[in-house]
Structures are given as C-alpha cells and as structure tokens.
Amino acid sequence: MSNELEITQDINNKFTAQQARGLNYEENLLWEKERSDHSGVDLPVPEGSAVRTGLPERTEDIGLPQVSEPQVVRHFVKMSTWNYSIDHGFFPLGSCTMKHNPRLSEKLACLAGFAHIHPKQPESTVQGALKLMYELQNWLAELTALPGVCLVPAAGAQGELAGMMTIKRAHELNNQSQRKIVLTPDSSHGTNPATAVMCGYELRVISTKDTGRISIEAFKEALYATSDDGSDIAGMMVTNPNTCGLFETNIKELADLLHEAGGYFYCDGANFNALVGKIRPGDFGVDVMHVNLHKTFSTPHGGGGPGSGPICTTVKLAPYMPVPVVGMKNDTYCLQWEEDRPETLGRLKGFNGQFAIHVRALSYMMSCGANGLKQVAEDAVLSANYIFSQLKDDFHAPYDAPCMHECIITDKIQKDTGVTTIDFAKALCEYGFHPMTVYFPIVLSGTMLIEPTETESKESIDRFITVMKKFAEDIKSGDTEKFHSFPLSTPRKRLDEVIAARNPVLRWSCN
C-alpha cells in the first residue's frame, strides 16, 4: 500500500491527513477547520430590536466553530462514509436482528398525515394516527397471544422496565410485596438482570452451563431455594430463544411451575424474529413480554433508530400496564389514561411512544401479511442453520445441534495459535463485513454469535462463509501474524483497546 494513504499522528494525538486518494477520505474536526471569517449564513446585525422571548439575553459568543455551509455538508457526508450500516453490507450482529429496513415503510412514515402531526393535537384531528396505533396493538396482541398492549416504551430496555414494573405493580396491588426475587438464567441478556435490579428486585441466577438451556432441576432449585412454595419469587426473566440461539425446550413446564408458585413470566422479546408467526409466547406461558419493533419488525436501529419496545401482557396483567393505551369508544379512537385505567402504574414517557416507528412496524407487518411473517421466522432460522452447518467443522461448535435464528461458534480450535475471537472480528472489518457479536453470551469463552437474518441473500451469506473458512485455513497453515494487525484498509486501523478503555479521551481539546 502506498504511503500516501497513511495517516500520521502529530504530538497532540490529532490525526492529520497527508493525502487522500479515491474514496479514502481523511477528515478533520470542524474545530480544526474553522476560521473566524467563515460563516454559514451572513445576516445583518439586527438594530433596535428588543428580546421578546422573556429569557435571559446571551452576552457571550455561542462558541460554535465558524465554517461555511459547503464545508459543513462535506464534513458530515464524508463522516457518513466512515459509518457501516445495514445499507452497506452484511451485519450479522447476534441478538440484534440487523435486517433490511424496507423503503416502503420509510415512505409511509413520511406521509404528511403521519409525519406532520403533533401529540398535543385534539384526538378528533388525529383519528387516522390513533387507528394505526390501535391496529398495531391488535397485530402485536395476535402475534404474541397476549391481548394487553402498550406501545409507549421507546426502546427494548424501556420495554423490559415497563414489563417488570407491570409485574411489580400487580404484586403490590395484590398484597404480594413479599415477593422480592427474580430468576434469570446466566445466558440472559445483560439488560434482564439490570432491569430486575432497577425495579428493586433481588436477582437469582439459574445456571445453564451444561446444555445452554434451563433444566427443570436447576429451575426448581432456584425457585424453592429460600421457601418451600416459591412464595418469595416475583417472577422470571427469560429470553426465548435464548442467547445461545437455542429454543428453551422446557419453557411451558417452567412457566407452569412458576405460575403455581405465584410468579409471573417475563419474556425478553429480543429474539422474537425466530418465532414470529410460528408460535405465540402467550401459548407457552408468558405473562408479559416486550417486542423490539426495531428488530423483528424491521424498523431502523443501530444508530438509525429510535428503537421501540411495546409490551404485551395477559388479560390479568393488562390493567397494570403504563398509560396511555389506545382504545375505542363509540367508533372513535381515543387514548386511555389513568382515569380509564385506575390500576395502571402510570406514565413512563412523554406522549405516546415512537409514533413514526409504529407506522413503519405496521407497514412491515401488513406488507408481509400473516404468511409472510411466518416465512420471516423460517428464513431467519434457515439462514442461521446454513451458516452453522458450513462453519461447524472449521470452528468449535459448543452446541452441535440445529439452532434458531442465530448460531454460536467459538475460538477454541484456533486460540492456541494466538488468534482469538477479537482477531476474527477485526479481520471481518478488513473484509468489509460488520463483525458478529463477540464474547457474548458469557457462559462460554471466546463466543461468536452470528445472526444473518432473513433479508440476506444466499450470495452474501456465502461470501461471509468463504471469508470465515479462509480465516480458519490461514490459521491452520500457520499464517497467523496478520490477524493481529487487521483491519488495514479502514479509516481507522487497529485500536489499542486497553489504552482506550483505561485512559479514554472523551473530549477534544485544542492543546
């Protein structure tokens, strides 16, 4: 590679472009470009006008970099080319369901009647928007078999919080406040235990080490550890399929045992993509779950969001959900608040959730249709199993059995050569792929969690497989050194993660 593309670092640790070639742009910060005689727009200095905002008048400079409009436009366009998104290429980030965002959904979300309304408008003027939310609630209720739906939560984690707060509210109003413990397996998403603790619950972890699944024995042990009948258990939080890409085969029996003990079953819907249209969580005993619209229902995320995490509950738990909920009265759509739902835990967020995302999600559901959604799950599972079947002889496969929508391999075969999971992730960047999820789930060492989704073509999946196989072959033949320097062709090269984590530089300064 030519030296002309190399980037030097000056003593102040600022990157300075020597030269750029082709589409390899280097780009400085706006602060480094600014000149006092540049400005975006020249406006005359206003004379004799009083400040009428009623707010204190700013007397100092606002302190923004002074740059011209073309400079600003080019700056951000160049920066955008450094980003990697699902619109660039394969993005197999496990448990994230990075799938294509259909442009039809974008188009519908931009319709003036959806895009230009305000949540404070009178309900009579936004009947169409309310109808859309009502329809979305019904679709989610049907797909989950959980008829209580609240669209408010603005992300998956907030959905989890809303769901667990709903459970807590139900226990409190039913004199069950002695229930203080939440069960969760060690393979669960990190947000699950975090949510339980945020709600004031104590956590009890169920070990899944041997099989990657929750066994009845381990579950019973956790359920009855501190009481004979589980009367101190508030509930359990389980992701199904779990983060090992495995369906929890005992799920109905676990749910029955939990219900017998008086606990509620919270299901993390992050992996709903594997099940949608095929089975319904309410049918395997779930009491409340959140659904990541930005995963399963294909709305943008990963920097392009916002996310949206509606919750779906049983009839029994529905009264306790947050408000507002969209209802119908005399053929008119309306928002139901505390006065309509006296047992609600209250409001969780301003207004009604991420409405523009609701539009995209319903658009996706309706354009797929019931049969199309079934095929979503089928193709997602097929893609993951195809990758798994092609890679399981080159990499260690801890669970050598068909997976759901994502599969796990590890670096066990390669790690003694010094090439480990992080090196595979960095090498994938060099080959133009977003890496898979690495070192998660944490129940195994050196995990690589791969989720291709149903929207990847066989060609792009095959290219990924070919590259991964090439890595394994290179290592086998002793060609390991390069793995420690990848990526070489990206705008930023291999970062020193230890220094970055120990001494993060979080603010730019001119010195």
Binding site: Y439, S445, V498, A501, R502
Partner: protein, 125 residues
C-alpha cells in the same frame, strides 16, 4: 501459617487466621484478558457467601467476584485502582482485591486446594 484455596468461580483466597484475602486466579485473568477497571467493595460492608464482592472489567467483559464466605470487608486494595497490573499478581502479594474478616470458618471447608483446582480447570471448556 497461611494457605491458598480456590473456588469454582475462580476466586483464590489466602487464609490468614480469621482473615481471607480474596483475589482472582491466573485462569480467570487469562480468560478475561487485559483488565481495564476494578470496582472495589466498601470497607465495613457485610457480605454473605456468594454476594458480589467486586467487579473486574476487561476489554472483553465485566466479571463479578463473589465472596467465598460470610464476613465483613476490613480492607480494599486501593492501590489496585491505579495499578491494574496488580490484579495479575499472587493473592498473597499485590493481587488481593479485598480482605474479609471471616464470620463462619466452616464455609472454608468446601474450597479446593491448588491440585484440585488445577484438575478442575483442565476439565473446563
């Protein structure tokens, strides 16, 4: 005389009379990779066996260190916060994270000695 014991969660413990010095094993350090942060417990905190004692964060993951016994934290290794290389030292030297005054010495009985622990880690994934 002090002795070193091990847990199956990869804590190593130096038993010094009624005080236990807690660190993490070499196996745990290798699995974690470079440590970037250690969250120490507060002195005076009462812990039950199995409670979280500290968090060791690496570039890969954040791992919890559990208390092997009931007891009270009598000292935390504040030097470790600024010198993370200490995590890699022997528990009996700079590698201890905290010292606990043991309430119930019988809880030490189930712990492994070095030979047993090495056998245990050899059979791990």
């Amino acid at each position: 005389m002090s002795e070193i014991k091990f847990t199956n969660e990869h804590e190593c413990i130096k038993i010094d009379g009624d005080v236990a010095w807690i660190g993490i094993t070499k196996y745990a350090q290798e699995a974690l990779g470079d440590v970037v942060h250690v969250e120490l417990p507060e002195v005076g905190k009462q812990l039950k066996k199995g409670d979280n004692l500290a968090v060791v964060e690496s570039v890969k993951t954040a791992a919890e260190v559990y208390s092997p016994v009931d007891g009270e934290i009598i000292e935390a290794n504040v030097d470790m916060e600024n010198n993370l290389e200490l995590v890699a030292q022997l528990v009996s030297e700079g590698g201890w994270i905290a010292k606990i005054k043991i309430s119930d010495a019988s809880q030490l009985e189930g712990l492994m000695d070095e030979v047993k622990y090495n056998e245990y880690t050899e059979n791990l994934d």
